[in-house]
Amino acid sequence: MKIHEADARGIFAGYGLPVPPSKMITKAGDAKAAAEQLGCPVVVKAQVLVGGRGKAGGVKLASTPEEAVEKAEAILGLDIKGLTVEKVLVAKAVDIDKEFYVGMIFDRGSRRPMMMVSPAGGVDIEEVARTTPEKILKLPVNPEGGLMPFQVRRLASFLSSDKAVAKQIGKALKGLYDAFMGSDASLAEINPLVEDPDGKVWAIDAKINLDDNALFRHPEIAEMRDDASEDQGEVTAREADLSFVKLDGRIGCIVNGAGLAMATMDMIKHFGGEPANFLDIGGSSSPEKVLSAIKIILRDENVKSILINIFGGITRCDDVANGLIVAKEKLGLDIPLVVRLTGTNEVEAKEILASTEMIAALDMEDAVKKAIEAAG
């Protein structure tokens, strides 16, 4: 789960990171009071859950409260990568002397939490990794002992040779590690962490992605979810316990299992079609889940046919077949359904579907070809 910068700043501040004070507003007029209270200059920042806000004109500096209102007016309502800006953050601006990148992830290779730092901050870190990998220092951390003081010293001195600055950076790194582990994040980064002309260190941006599987133990963080900034089909799918990603094609897909669902989309492309979505109904399916899945797919007007590809294991084919019958009755489906059911209770499923006009497929390849043909 992604959260807004404003919420990430709040979490970081709670772990003692040097975050400049800020205020979230939704009306441009409120920028004046915010700027007056914080003290100018301020930076006005669009709160949308995508990167590249600065390039899209979503981050602007204001030197007076009046200017803050103008900038907020310009940013509110802006379209950034398909998302409309509805909230802006007004934050006390910091003069920047040096910019650093500091981040935490879980490293698949070492199977440990890993800290990454770079003196080339303020830019896309993936770009730094591609072009100048020597400017990034990565250190895996043993979660038993936590981030060790010697690691902190090594990381901090990689960023600054000034002892007083390195000490502040070190403190920020410890805070970052604790915030990452403490909030069950999958990513926590500050880009940039900056040094001002007085040699003071500030975290002027904040990004935290949470591990969805751990939200159950962080109800206060779970509440930070912003449904409005996500695809509504994806929100509905999550509520129905389905895994769904919207795409741009014409063939809706309902599959059990993530790997098979990806392979089904790939095969649609391989044979010249375009999938409309990724949808995994999961292991223990029920007729209700199938109904929810079809409803979600039908929200998309581009969909011209629906392909159901089930390899039954825990998933019972007759459950899926019953769900399709219910969907047909309740939703009055008039677009073609191509159905491939193999595995547990396949025979029962085929009997259930025999009298319908759904298109039966012999195997996955046959199903994909028929779904492409049916989509026209």
Binding site: M262, A263, M265
Partner: protein, 289 residues
């Protein structure tokens, strides 16, 4: 020989009185797996319909049965503890079927069990099967056949799809293992490739990869540096958009890396054939063997 599970596997089912654990314990017994016990705290002393004794703890279960392997079907919030309990009781192999474990739990579990000499498969794994010998997991047993092809995969049903094609075309399997779809798993692709490399009964390996991480690239590197078995590959996720988690927590293209195209290119560069469709893997394996 096969790898990891065989006729010597003595299995405890953790969460055996739950819906999934109970159902799959019966399925495993029916397949011929030597299920020697189950564990559900507070329900010790019972017996399942198949006559499998239930214990309160892994320590009790291992002491009473001499079990060497455990399979876990408990809810995600309790799964990390269940893994550690099995390891602490002396199980050298733990297979975690449960999905949805927080990654932070996993990174804490791994040093604990490594210290005790335990190998973990999963979490979020469909399990392991050595056809005709032992099935530890949730895969449908009847689609498999005994043979000499090893299968390693990051997913469940896609593996069934591919195994189904292999079996239909006379290519039986030594062992099929689903390592799990999470970003951090106990045994990864490379670990499994090493196990197959050392197995006399495995002549060739089918590697089923997907987007996310760089395990497949590392596997390609391993093959380049000398790998004693033939390898055929299928990669899922060519049509996945960047930055979106495709069901599996680990299946995500981030920062432009972990794409299917990169993985295919890595294998192509070391002369390993990659199938375009699941069915095509059969032709590749027939050519290789």
């Amino acid at each position: 020989m096969s790898i990891l599970v065989d006729k010597n596997t003595k299995l405890i089912v953790q969460g055996i009185t739950g819906r999934d654990g109970g159902f799959h314990a019966s399925q495993m017994v029916a397949y011929g797996t030597n299920v020697v016990g189950g564990v559900t705290p507070g329900k010790g002393g019972q017996k399942t319909e198949d006559g499998v004794p239930v214990f309160d703890s892994m320590a009790d279960a291992v002491a009473a049965t001499g079990a060497n392997t455990s399979v876990i079907y408990v809810p995600a919030a309790f799964a990390a503890d269940a893994i550690c309990e099995a390891s602490d009781a002396g199980c050298k192999l733990v297979v975690c079927i449960s999905e949805g474990l927080p990654v932070r739990d996993m990174v804490k579990v791994l040093p604990f069990i490594t210290e005790r000499g335990t190998r973990l498969i999963g979490p979020n794994s469909p399990g392991i099967i050595s056809p005709g010998r032992s099935k530890v997991g949730i895969m449908p047993g009847d689609i498999h056949a005994e043979g000499n092809v090893g299968v390693v995969s990051r997913s469940g049903t896609l593996t069934y799809e591919i195994v189904y094609h292999l079996t239909q075309n006379g290519l039986g399997q030594s062992t099929c293992i689903g390592i799990g779809g999470d970003p951090i798993v106990g045994t990864n692709l490379l670990d499994t490739m090493e196990l197959f490399a050392a197995d006399d009964e495995t002549d060739a390996v089918v590697l089923i990869g997907e987007i996310g991480g760089n395990d497949e690239e590392l596997a390609a590197e391993m093959i380049k540096n000398s790998y004693p078995k033939k390898v055929g590959v299928f990669i899922a996720g060519h049509s996945a958009p960047p930055g979106k988690r495709m069901g599996h927590a680990g299946a995500i293209v981030s920062g432009g890396t972990g794409t299917a195209a990169e993985k295919v290119a890595a294998f192509a560069a070391v002369g390993v054939e990659v199938a375009d469709t699941p069915a095509q893997i059969v032709d590749i394996m027939k050519r290789l063997i």
